[in-house]
Subunit: 346 residues, 3 copies
Amino acid sequence: MIVRNQWYVAAYGREITHDLFSRTICGESILFWRTEAGAVTAMADRCVHRRFPLSQAPTRLVGDQVVCGYHGFTYGADGACVAVPGQTRVPRTARLRSYPVVEQDSFVWVFIGDPDLAGGVRIPRAPWLDSPGWTAVSGMEPLAARAGLLVDNLLDLSHETYLHGGYIGTPEVAGTPITTEVDDEAGIVYVSRHMDDAECPPFYSRSTGLSGRISRWQDIEYTPPCLYLLHSRIAPVGSQPNPDGTDPDAFHVEVVYAITPETETSTHDFWAVARDFALDDEEVSAFLAEQNRTVVLQDVEALDVLEQVIASEPAGYQELSINIDTGGLAARRMLARLASSTAVRV
Amino acid sequence: MIVRNQWYVAAYGREITHDLFSRTICGESILFWRTEAGAVTAMADRCVHRRFPLSQAPTRLVGDQVVCGYHGFTYGADGACVAVPGQTRVPRTARLRSYPVVEQDSFVWVFIGDPDLAGGVRIPRAPWLDSPGWTAVSGMEPLAARAGLLVDNLLDLSHETYLHGGYIGTPEVAGTPITTEVDDEAGIVYVSRHMDDAECPPFYSRSTGLSGRISRWQDIEYTPPCLYLLHSRIAPVGSQPNPDGTDPDAFHVEVVYAITPETETSTHDFWAVARDFALDDEEVSAFLAEQNRTVVLQDVEALDVLEQVIASEPAGYQELSINIDTGGLAARRMLARLASSTAVRV
Amino acid sequence: MIVRNQWYVAAYGREITHDLFSRTICGESILFWRTEAGAVTAMADRCVHRRFPLSQAPTRLVGDQVVCGYHGFTYGADGACVAVPGQTRVPRTARLRSYPVVEQDSFVWVFIGDPDLAGGVRIPRAPWLDSPGWTAVSGMEPLAARAGLLVDNLLDLSHETYLHGGYIGTPEVAGTPITTEVDDEAGIVYVSRHMDDAECPPFYSRSTGLSGRISRWQDIEYTPPCLYLLHSRIAPVGSQPNPDGTDPDAFHVEVVYAITPETETSTHDFWAVARDFALDDEEVSAFLAEQNRTVVLQDVEALDVLEQVIASEPAGYQELSINIDTGGLAARRMLARLASSTAVRV
């Protein structure tokens, strides 16, 4: 179940240069490149003539035009065909489908669905990835599992204790109850777990320098379908933010996931970790990048297995849900509603 | 066509230790482990919560409890859930499906189907695999072909002459007619071929020390769906068993196959060779193990090819059968009857 | 869409020796071998008994008889079974389907469909592959794409400029308009492109010794479904054939493709290049063989990608066609007509 008429993260801005780049988003193979003026373009990665993928050599970029490597059909940055072989007249309908694109918060967002609706759909923000006062590390791992499995995973962090023990998991995560809140109007699911006296996992002890027990808050803010934020606060036990919102004794980490379906059963798992401390410490950056990638790969391994389980199980299999699942179940409901409202609209 | 409500060999007893072990039997992924008291347990290899396979790390056994590696759901040896994360109450329905298990004749048998019917279905015996006076070697080879192809193969040993020439095949096997007998009440198919003056293949000459021509009897006893016995008697030409059943001049080999469907189109091919001579001769054991494994792998290669042929052929293809096929055809009829009676019963 | 009741190239004559050889043609697995007298036989590659592929070891040829490696069913060169195991009577219906075969122009042609119709269907000729006055190099590359994609490719040579630039493509190929002619009665599509003042690509400059600009004619003659000829004339600019048909100043190259479906989505891509110059020059032979194989592999890579694009695209995708496609579209129409007339006839 892929929700259309939505913005999705297609790439990091740094991935798109003056070179042909292709990625499949929601089942659509899309060609990206950056014009000589620096704008990101997005168009169908398939020549209108005989389907040749334009990301495929010997297709090449000549200035701001793409020349198909099969028969030479040539397209401008807006997707319009400007030249064909063997004749001077270019058919009026020779045009690649182009996609609305926005570059923001280090991401390239693309709108999947009816482009006329793009303006009316909000792009959620992750400003910490590209703001003064914050340092971020990031990456993307391919996931051979449906996006819904990653949503389940991220909305229920009790799994940190088991799947990520020794990295970010401690007994308190699974042991501490959560509160869940759903803002249907804004289209956001909130899940909070505040551990006031918890073990400090290596992920945070080595990056913050804190030792001993800590206060650890996990405040999840998920905007279906694509953007997941984990506002993480680590502080000495007993420390609280000030009434004016300042919080000088705490360390803040913003963990960001962009969950982009590649196909019905595979996903681009974009992850980023931003922090408001040790801003110029390369060693901390390298440590957090390596640790978070390891954690993401533990999830990837588990979710790839779950996708295989689903593929081989009889239809109608029923899961059992408990309190820790309230966030994930709320997210599923919101995704189902978005999917059905799209179905009606189209 | 998999016959349910039947006992199948899932493993050798030696394969199941105090460690998580998974095998797919008749399309069902089953978790096996041995309790600290030594009993074999069998339960569904899938957490009731979010489907995580319990055989998958970091799931682990703690005493006689399985702790799921995803969110920590914890199960006892009977499959009942005893702990879940984030709450003290365990839902009543949180229980893994458990399977009837019997350990016998070196095999772990598991009942596939309605567990209430297990007591009424006979488990066929292969006592030579675990009896004084006998020495056995055994193994299991994965077969990428439906179980029925292995049944066909084993019920018609004329193929030894061609597919296993130089190992266990000689011209007399294909050349000697068979007798077939079907005991519908007991659910057994018998096929016999008595060669009274035959070449001695290396399999028997090197293990028995006989040279020159031999009397070679092949008495098949197949109890569908799972257990196949080949009672093999090798003796000097002219030698007969005594009227009282003793047979001092002959060498007896019991070849046992357990034919367990993994899926509709793949099979666990358990094989064992027991003998009543050279009981402590390690060299004979090693020779018979290596030879029989080679023969099994010749079958595996041929049957894997046949499965591919079936996969690519148009529906309704018709085989041609002759006298040598009477045993195989009887086995097919018995399997079809078992399958349909199951279908009615459920 | 595979057209049946047609002759297809199954192999080069040199591929068929007194040894078992199998190739799948139009979805049918066919066994070929040459009798001791030198005739090519073609029969179903599947034993009538239990489906064993006769091309599979330990099946073997004994004189002019095939002995199945599974149970020893034995077949003569006409496909009739002459011996079975365990009994002397051979069932009357024990016979492999045999295929009409013609060896001609270095190819082994096989008739796919109703054998009674074979005599009424013309086998197109490619005499240059096996004639005095001509020297040919040839090969076959497996294509993981439907035959229709190769037909499209070969009927529209404008792609040489882009996909084969630096080998056989120059700007004039894509730049010069074509003329297309369809002979419905003979069942032939003609496409011509005469470039009277063109760059000489390496393929022709190194083989002919011509330098500077040339006259280059491409005259395509495609007889659906299987045989494609490219009559290629390379000459100094301004040179014309004489009124009597002689053409002493020109170099003639006959490029031959046999397009044989393996399955609905894979193809045997037979290619040959015959020339009427440098007949004994091994270096020219080696150069043309290597160059043409490289060009074929460039096509294979592109068409394999297109097959994947088709496999993943939604149903009903529409291509855009222009003037260069008139030959390919005519070929598609003729193939569709052949397919539907076959469908009616059967």
